[in-house]
C-alpha cells in the first residue's frame, strides 16, 4: 500500500517535472538574463517567500545554506512552478502561461552537527515570444522574437550546527546555462530580404553563498545570507547571415550581481510562526563585457509570512499535521519601465503543506496572486497567478549506526 502511494506521488512529480513547457512566460523575461528565479521552495512561497531565518529540519531553503543545519533526516525535494500572467500595456493585453521544473535539492545529515546538501536550482528564466509591426525610415516590417533558456546553478552545501544556537552554511555553486534567441524580420517592401537569425549564449562560472541562522531563544530565529558578485564566462554563437557557413562566435563575460538578505522568525510552542525578511539583489550591477545592461535596477523585496502547523508527530491527526501558510511581499522589480520608472510587484500568497505517509514527507503547495506595475505609472502591468508545488521526501537514509 505504501508503495502505491509513493508511486502515485512519483507519477505526479515526474509528469509535472518533465512535461515540456508549451507556452511562454512574460515579455519581461527578455531583459538581462531573464526573470530572476530560484524560489526558495513552495513552503516558503506560501509565506510570501520568507525563508532566510527558517531552519526547522522540515524543509531546506535554496536561498540560505544555513537552513540545512537542523535537518535530522535525509531529504529529497523536487519543485514545479507555474505562472499564468496577464500582461497589459497601453495598447492591448495577452495572457501567457508558463510551467516548468523548478529545481531539486538533496540533503543528508552527516552527524556531529554537520549536514551536506546538493541541488540544482534555476536562477534566471527567459521564455518569451513577441511579435509586432514597426517601421524604419518609412519601410514597415513585421518582427518576431523568441527567447528561451536561463541560468541554473548546481550546488554543493556544507552546513554546521553549533549547540543548536548558531547554524552556518556555505554553498559552492557552479552556474551554467544557455540562452537562445531567434528573431525574424520581414519588411513589406518587395526588394527586401528577411532576417531569420539566432544567437546562442552559453555561460558558466563559480560562486559562493554564505549564510547564518542564529537562535537566540527557542522561539526566535534570525538569519542572513550573502552572495558576492561573480563572473560568468560566456560564449556566443551568432547565426547571422545565411552566407556564413559557420556561425560567428564571441567570447566574453558577465558580472552576475551580488545579493544579500536578512530575516527574523518567531515561533510559538503551539506551532504558529511568523516572520519578516528583506532581500536585495543588485541587478543594476549586471554587466556584459563591462557594459551595463540598460534599465536594470536593484531588486529589493520585503516579505512577511506566517505558518500554522499544530502537530508533527505521526500520532497527530492528518488535519493537525497539515500546514497552513499566509504571506505577502512587495518587491521593486529588477527591470525599470520604458520611462525609467520602477516597477512595483506585490503578491499575496497562501500555502498548504500536506503530510505524506510519514511526518517527514510532505507535499507543499503555494498559490500566489499578485501584480507587477500599473498602466498609469509604468505603462504596463502584469496580473500574476502563481502555483508552486514541491514534494519533499524525508527518510532515515544513511543514518549513522555507530
Amino acid at each position: 500500500m505504501a508503495y502505491q502511494k509513493y508511486a502515485r506521488l512519483g507519477i505526479v512529480i515526474l509528469l509535472t517535472a518533465v512535461f515540456p513547457p508549451r507556452s511562454h512566460s512574460s515579455v519581461l523575461s527578455s531583459a538581462g538574463l531573464g526573470l530572476p528565479a530560484g524560489d526558495p521552495g513552495a513552503r516558503f512561497m506560501g509565506m510570501g517567500g520568507m525563508s532566510v531565518a527558517m531552519a526547522d529540519g522540515q524543509t531546506v531553503s535554496s536561498l540560505n545554506p544555513a537552513s540545512l543545519h537542523r535537518i535530522r533526516l535525509t531529504q529529497l525535494a523536487v519543485q514545479v512552478v507555474s505562472d499564468q500572467v496577464r500582461f497589459r500595456d497601453e495598447s492591448s493585453s495577452s495572457t501567457t502561461t508558463y510551467m516548468n521544473f523548478n529545481g531539486f535539492s538533496f540533503a543528508v545529515p552527516l552527524g556531529r552537527g554537520l549536514s551536506l546538501g546538493m541541488g540544482l536550482v534555476p536562477r534566471t528564466r527567459m521564455d518569451y515570444w513577441v511579435s509586432f509591426s514597426d517601421s524604419l525610415d518609412g519601410e514597415s516590417y513585421f518582427k518576431t522574437v523568441q527567447g528561451s533558456g536561463g541560468l541554473n546553478s548546481a550546488e554543493l552545501t556544507l552546513a554546521c550546527d553549533i549547540r543548536s544556537v548558531v547554524g552556518f552554511g556555505l554553498t559552492g555553486q557552479y552556474f551554467f546555462g544557455k540562452i537562445t534567441e531567434t528573431w525574424r524580420l520581414l519588411f513589406d517592401g518587395a526588394q527586401f530580404t528577411g532576417t531569420n537569425n539566432q544567437i546562442n549564449t552559453r555561460g558558466d562560472g563559480f560562486g559562493v553563498t554564505g549564510g547564518i541562522i542564529v537562535h537566540p531563544s527557542r522561539a526566535l530565529s534570525i538569519g542572513g545570507v550573502f552572495r558576492p558578485s561573480l563572473r560568468i564566462s560566456t560564449s556566443t554563437e551568432i547565426f547571422g547571415s545565411p552566407l556564413i557557413a559557420t556561425p560567428a562566435t564571441r567570447s566574453g563575460n558577465m558580472n552576475l550581481p551580488s545579493f544579500w538578505s536578512a530575516g527574523v522568525r518567531y515561533e510559538t510552542p503551539k506551532g504558529f510562526s511568523a516572520g519578516t525578511e528583506y532581500f536585495e539583489e543588485a541587478w543594476n550591477d549586471l554587466s556584459v563585457n563591462g557594459r551595463a545592461v540598460v534599465r536594470l535596477q536593484k531588486r529589493s523585496r520585503l516579505a512577511v509570512g506566517a505558518e500554522l502547523m499544530r502537530g508533527q508527530l505521526p500520532t497527530d491527526g492528518y488535519f493537525k499535521r497539515t500546514a497552513f501558510r499566509l504571506g505577502f511581499y512587495t518587491e521593486r522589480f529588477f527591470l525599470a519601465d520604458t520611462r525609467g520608472g520602477s516597477i512595483r510587484e506585490i503578491m499575496g500568497t497562501v500555502g498548504f503543506g500536506f503530510p505524506l505517509v510519514t511526518s517527514a514527507s510532505h507535499l507543499d503547495i503555494a498559490l500566489g496572486f499578485g501584480r507587477r506595475g500599473s498602466i498609469a505609472d509604468n505603462g504596463l502591468s502584469e496580473n500574476c497567478f502563481r502555483v508552486n508545488l514541491s514534494a519533499t521526501i524525508g527518510e532515515k537514509w544513511f543514518e549513522r549506526k555507530f
Binding site: V12, T16, V27, D89, I199, T201, S241, V294, Y318, F354
Partner: protein
C-alpha cells in the same frame, strides 16, 4: 485519508498540465518594452562613394565589339575600319562590297552618302581610339554610295573596277588593304555586324568577287570602329559607355556595418547627367555591377569575382540597382570589399553611354549605397 490527499495531488498535477496546454500566440503586447531594451536593432544607413571613384577604358575597346558603327549625330561620330587580305585571281568580272545595316535606335539617319577611303592596315584593333586613329591615306574616296540605313536587308555596293586592283593581284604576291567607311551626312547613326558578331555568317562586311567560272567571298581579316565619345575631363561625373568600353569604379566604406548584420536591402543609387550622356539620355541604358576582388585598382586588369553580378537600368535620370547579396558578402567577409565595377551590359553591341555624378558632385547627386540591415540583440554578448 492520506490516499485521498495523494489523489488530490494527482488531480492537481493533471490540472496543471491541462492548464498549460492552452495555445499561446505571439502578440504585440510588450513590443514597446522589448524595443526599448533592444534599441537600434534595425538600422538604415546611406553611404556615399569614396573619392577614389574613377572611370577608365579597357584596351579591347571597339575591336571586340560585335557591331560596327558609322554616322554622325548628337555629338556622336563613328567610323568603321575594315581590312581585307589581297587575293590572287584572274578574269575578275565584278566585285561588290556587302554588309547589313540597321539604323541606330532614335538616330535613324535615313539616306546617307557613304565614303570608302583607303587606309593602311597596320592599326591594332585593341588599341586604336579616336585620338590615335589611322587617317585615310587620301581624302579622295575610293568610291561613294548612297544607302538607305532604314533598309535592313543586305546592301551590295559595286566596287569600281579601278578600285578592284587594290584588292586583287594577278600574281602570287599577297598583302593587305584597309578601308575606312564613314559618312559626312549628319543626324544619324547606323550599325552593322562585325567579324565578332558571327564567324559563320556573312552578315559582316565582305567582298564578293565574280569571275567567269566562280564566285568568291572574301572575309575581312579584322575590323573595328572608332568614336569621338571620349572620357570626360569633368571631375564631377563618371561614365559607362558601350562600344568604346568605358567603365567606372566605385568603392563604399562599409566598416560601420557589423559582421553579423543581416542585410535586408542594399541599393546602389546613381544620378545621371543627361547633358553628358549619349546618344539619347532618355533612352533606357542597361548597366552591370560586378564586385572587384582586389583592394587596389590596377586598371584595366582588374580582378573581379565572376560569381556575382547584378543588373540595372537607367530609365530616367537615376538608377537603383539591388546589391543586397553583394553587401551581405562584403559584411560577412565572404568577399573582399574591393568596390564595384560598373559596365554597360551591351558593351560589345551598342554605342550608348551614360554619365552619372561622381563623389565630387554635390551630396544629393553623388553615388550612394542605401542599406537597411538588422542586428542580433546584443544584450548577452
Amino acid at each position: 485519508m492520506t490516499s485521498k490527499w495523494s489523489l488530490a495531488g494527482c488531480l492537481l498535477g493533471v490540472a496543471f498540465m491541462c492548464f498549460q496546454c492552452g495555445g499561446y500566440k505571439a502578440s504585440p503586447v510588450g513590443a514597446q518594452l522589448f524595443q526599448g531594451q533592444n534599441p537600434n536593432m534595425e538600422r538604415h544607413v546611406t553611404l556615399t562613394a569614396a573619392s577614389s571613384d574613377t572611370s577608365y577604358r579597357i584596351a579591347v575597346a571597339c575591336g571586340g565589339s560585335s557591331l560596327l558603327f558609322i554616322g554622325n549625330g548628337r555629338d556622336l561620330e563613328a567610323w568603321t575600319y575594315v581590312v581585307f587580305d589581297t587575293i590572287t585571281i584572274d578574269s575578275l568580272i565584278k566585285a561588290t562590297l556587302s554588309f547589313q545595316v540597321r539604323p541606330y535606335p532614335v538616330l535613324n539617319p535615313g539616306r546617307v552618302i557613304l565614303s570608302i577611303l583607303p587606309t593602311g592596315s597596320t592599326w591594332d584593333e585593341t588599341t586604336m581610339t579616336w585620338d590615335n586613329k589611322i587617317l585615310p591615306s587620301s581624302e579622295t574616296p575610293l568610291f561613294q554610295a548612297e544607302i538607305n540605313s532604314a533598309d535592313t536587308s543586305s546592301i551590295d555596293l559595286d566596287v569600281p573596277l579601278d578600285v578592284l586592283a587594290t584588292f586583287v593581284t594577278k600574281d602570287t604576291l599577297t598583302g593587305r588593304v584597309g578601308i575606312l567607311i564613314k559618312t559626312e551626312s549628319t543626324g544619324g547613326l547606323f550599325q552593322m555586324n562585325s567579324l565578332e558578331y558571327s564567324a559563320s555568317s556573312t552578315s559582316y562586311p565582305h567582298l564578293t568577287l565574280y569571275t567567269a567560272s566562280d564566285t568568291l567571298i572574301v572575309s575581312p581579316s579584322k575590323d573595328t570602329f572608332v568614336s569621338n565619345s571620349e572620357l570626360s575631363s569633368r571631375s564631377d561625373i563618371l561614365r559607362i559607355q558601350d562600344g568604346i568600353a568605358e567603365r567606372s569604379l566605385l568603392h563604399f566604406n562599409i566598416a560601420g556595418i557589423p559582421v553579423e548584420a543581416t542585410i535586408n536591402r542594399a541599393m546602389l543609387i546613381l544620378h545621371a547627367d543627361p547633358e553628358a550622356s549619349v546618344p539619347d539620355p532618355s533612352a533606357m541604358f542597361f548597366l552591370a555591377v560586378s564586385p572587384v576582388a582586389d583592394s587596389v585598382w590596377t586598371v584595366p586588369n582588374l580582378k573581379l569575382d565572376s560569381t556575382w553580378v547584378a543588373y540595372g537600368s537607367f530609365t530616367g535620370d537615376s538608377v537603383a540597382v539591388t546589391v543586397t547579396s553583394l553587401v551581405q558578402k562584403w559584411t560577412s567577409q565572404t568577399f573582399l570589399n574591393g568596390g564595384m565595377m560598373l559596365t554597360g551590359v551591351l558593351e560589345k553591341s551598342d554605342l550608348a553611354g551614360r554619365s552619372f555624378f561622381s563623389s565630387s558632385s554635390d551630396s544629393a547627386r553623388m553615388p550612394r549605397l542605401d542599406v537597411y540591415y538588422s542586428l542580433a540583440p546584443s544584450g548577452r554578448y
